[in-house]
């Protein structure tokens, strides 16, 4: 546990003492702010100010989800790729640390970094509530969904980062995979209904949709937990690769 915290603290320090996270954060919050404004306008003009969950928060959560997809790869891309590139991986792996401790420390740090991006958006529900009170619990469900989605994104990003030495490659591939997991169920006309069922089950974004309308479905939670476990497992295998390469 102590080792996990040590790695975690080192990663956080690396995040918050370099400019990248502030640039990504600024872009993320600027986009969120702009869409908060336009979605609110939409709600007032076309939603006639009724059913705030359906006509406003749903749109807002689906927009935040899109921006997360663009921002998370920037946060996860360096986790292992930078260590490989710098050569510090050789130090890290020869310290008395288990692979799991290194993974967990980095994973938690990345999740905290993403939460730091999301945290300022909490201003919106509270601001709206102060203008006109409405039930907050469904919004909480939406944020639970965003959190699960972020954790799943991070687990995917950390896995890709463990495969390569190049941060750019790690970032682009992570973005590509996350985008694919969103886009698989887009074109309903292109596939037959059975296949669409399967694609919907895979699609990370379809599983998010319930949360966006304020519904926490255990099947969706299970999907995200499974995704995180799968990518974590793959990351371990990727780190282990050094121990079986060169065997015969």
């Amino acid at each position: 546990m102590r080792n996990v915290i040590a790695v975690f603290r080192k990663e956080l320090r690396t995040y918050f003492f370099s400019p990248l996270i502030y640039i990504v954060g600024a872009a993320f919050l600027a986009l969120c702010g702009y869409f908060f404004y336009t979605d609110l306008l939409h709600f007032v003009t076309f939603g006639f100010g009724v059913n705030i969950m359906e006509n406003f928060w749903q749109l807002m959560f689906l927009d935040i989800r899109k921006f997360l997809l663009f921002c998370v790869p920037f946060i996860t891309m360096g986790l292992f790729a930078a260590e490989r590139h710098l050569g510090t991986i050789e130090l890290l792996l020869t310290y008395p640390l288990r692979d799991g401790e290194i993974f967990l420390g980095k994973f938690c740090a990345a999740v905290v970094a993403v939460m730091a991006l999301l945290a300022p958006t909490l201003l919106y529900p509270f601001y709206l509530h102060s203008v006109q009170p409405y039930p907050l619990l469904p919004v909480v469900a939406g944020y639970v969904g965003l959190l699960l989605l972020s954790v799943a994104f991070v687990s995917c990003g950390i896995f890709i980062s463990a495969l390569t030495e190049s941060q750019v490659v790690a970032g682009v591939v992570t973005g590509g995979i996350l985008f694919s997991l969103w886009a698989v169920s887009w074109n309903e006309a292109a596939v037959n209904p059975e296949t669409l069922q399967v694609l919907r089950a895979i699609s990370m974004f379809d599983h998010f949709h319930g949360f966006a309308v304020g519904v926490v479905d255990l099947r969706d939670v299970a999907y995200f937990v499974f995704t995180v476990l799968l990518f974590s497992h793959l990351t371990f295998r990727a780190l282990e690769a050094r121990t079986w390469r060169g065997r015969r």
Partner: protein
């Protein structure tokens, strides 16, 4: 303290380390000498538990590098080659992180970090970002992180490569100060470094051990032959012939020279002989006798290439005898 038996490592079809065996006792300082690509780094990475060997076994401080990798990693300090460390961390913050992961108790951490900072001469750099340090200081930080847990075994991979001459001298004296209680294995391709720092030398080439000897015995082997550079202002053919006629001379050959050397005038020769000092004396007297001008007489430092040629040559000869 370090025990290596029949260690072999393949990367695909390339055999990087080939049935290497040696052992190092507690407190010994051993140099791993060899040209680039001879398997030094691979060998060290196996010993540090970075990756396992293809076959064979290795023990550090009594722990098997494969079965008890964590135990090995707790017992050693490692300075990899060309390590950049974390550029965005300040020196003291980085060392605190290492102290944490190396399991130094919280209450002792600060004191211990300050100790190694003093030991490695980093006091003035404590708060600087590692990325802003010069190479020499970065190497000190790398050595400091290896020393933090007071390890029994230190493994240093090419600790002076890429440093300027002053930094090299400083790092060497730092390493010399580390010997004594600690067992040190350091790799290098610089011959003088070995004789300066190490009690014993293991010479590797092509992944195999070519020779293993004390530094003293090794330098004796090299001293069996001495090379002298002479630059004489006189007719080249006559000079060469006259020198060749002196006793105890093995060979006289024209020296390979760079343009800046030829501008110094005269003609230069490399004289190979059993003994150096008396030959230099005789050559000086000879040149004066003939009324030529003696521009330069210099004993040439033995090079790693020469040592290899001699060692490999000797091995092939004994091979042929058998």
């Amino acid at each position: 303290m370090i025990e290596v038996r029949e260690l072999t490592k393949y990367f695909g079809k390339i055999r990087a380390v080939d049935r290497v065996s040696f052992s190092i006792r507690r407190g010994e300082v051993v140099g791993l000498l060899g040209p680039n690509g001879s398997g030094k780094t691979t060998l060290m990475r196996i010993l540090t538990g970075f990756f396992p060997p293809t076959s064979g076994e290795a023990f550090v401080g009594g722990c098997d590098v494969q079965r008890d990798s964590l135990g090995v990693r707790r017992r050693l300090g490692y300075v990899p080659e060309h390590v950049v460390l974390y550029p965005e961390l300040p020196v003291s913050r980085f060392l605190a992180f290492v102290a944490d992961v190396k399991g130094i108790e919280r209450s002792r951490q600060r004191a211990r970090v300050e100790e190694v900072i003093a030991e490695c001469g980093l006091e003035s750099m404590e708060r600087r970002l590692i990325g802003k340090l010069s190479r020499g200081y970065r190497q000190r930080v790398a050595i400091a992180q290896a020393l933090l847990s007071e390890p029994e075994v230190l493994i240093l991979d090419e600790p002076t490569v890429g440093l300027d001459p002053r930094q090299t001298v400083e790092i060497r004296s730092l390493i010399r100060g580390l010997g004594g209680a600690r067992t040190i294995l350091l790799s290098t391709h610089i011959l003088t470094e070995v004789s300066l720092l190490c009690g014993r030398v293991i010479i590797v080439d092509g992944g195999r051990i070519v020779a293993e000897d004390t530094a003293a015995a090794l330098s004796q082997r090299i001293e069996g032959v001495s090379r002298t550079l002479i630059r004489v202002d006189g007719p080249p053919d006559m000079v060469a012939a006259a020198v060749r006629a002196l006793g105890e001379i093995e060979r006289v050959e024209p020296a390979a020279e760079s343009p800046s050397d030829t501008s110094r005038g005269g003609s230069a020769f490399v004289v190979v002989s059993k003994e150096g000092e008396s030959v230099r004396r005789e050559i000086a007297a000879l040149v004066v006798r003939h009324g030529w001008g003696l521009l330069e007489v210099r004993a040439l430092e033995p090079t790693l290439e020469e040592l290899f040629v001699r060692l490999l040559g000797a091995e092939q000869r004994t091979g042929a005898d058998a």
